[in-house]
Symmetry: C2
Subunit: 102 residues, 2 copies
DNA sequence: CAGTTATATAACCTGTCTGGCATGTTGGCC
DNA sequence: GGCCAACATGCCAGACAGGTTATATAACTG
């Protein structure tokens, strides 16, 4: 469910990791440099992200390359679905208003 | 920013409140009954949601009617934007694959 | 096999968050 | 004005999350 996913993505550091991985997949050291944080802290966040399926890792020599997985983001998108009519209805009203007032 | 909004919406109880308010605006007592939780707990969550702009309240006699506000959900939708190409690209590849293998 | 690189895990501390109970506060009613 | 109803707020206890340092593991390297 998007339930757990939201909690995982709510953490600012983890979102920074996602922002970084959105540009290109990376090893841990690269993320550590980008985030200016201790390596264990980054590894812990990566663990959480991986357990939630937000990222996946593949070993390359001693490195582990992390990349984003689309699934959880799609879930989040789907969860947001019903809430979209909160503002799509407003847009409908705006359109009708403009139609009636040319 | 969507930053704080995500943390606010990550809380399961608060999401249940949002789910309830999505159907219809309600007073606190109604939410208390729906969530089977103590009234102070609900009021506190409503405070957090209101501070984040996720809900707004309007007084009606001694009641306070709460309703959802679209803003934060739009922010979340916007934040999700760049991540959408994670799976839209996959769909592109799938389409090309199907085009090339009729 | 010894040493080094790259990452994961363990132990610990601290701050924050959530829930409950008790107590304010505000608006209507007799 | 006194009382009740509907919420809000303060305070406390328990749980949990995130960071750091120290240590373990895995894979190359000579």
């Amino acid at each position: 469910m998007a339930l757990d996913t939201m909690a995982v993505l709510a953490e600012p550091t983890r979102r920074r990791i996602c922002d970084a991985l959105r540009l290109r997949e990376s090893g841990v050291a690269e993320l550590v440099a980008a985030l200016r944080m201790s390596q264990p802290a980054v590894s812990k966040h990566l663990r959480v992200l991986r357990d939630a399926g937000v990222v996946s890792s593949r070993p390359v020599a001693q490195q582990r390359i992390y990349r984003l997985e689309p699934g959880p983001f799609q879930e989040l998108d789907a969860w947001l679905g019903p809430y979209r009519e909160l503002w799509s209805h407003s847009l409908d009203r705006l359109e009708r208003h403009l139609d009636n007032n040319p």
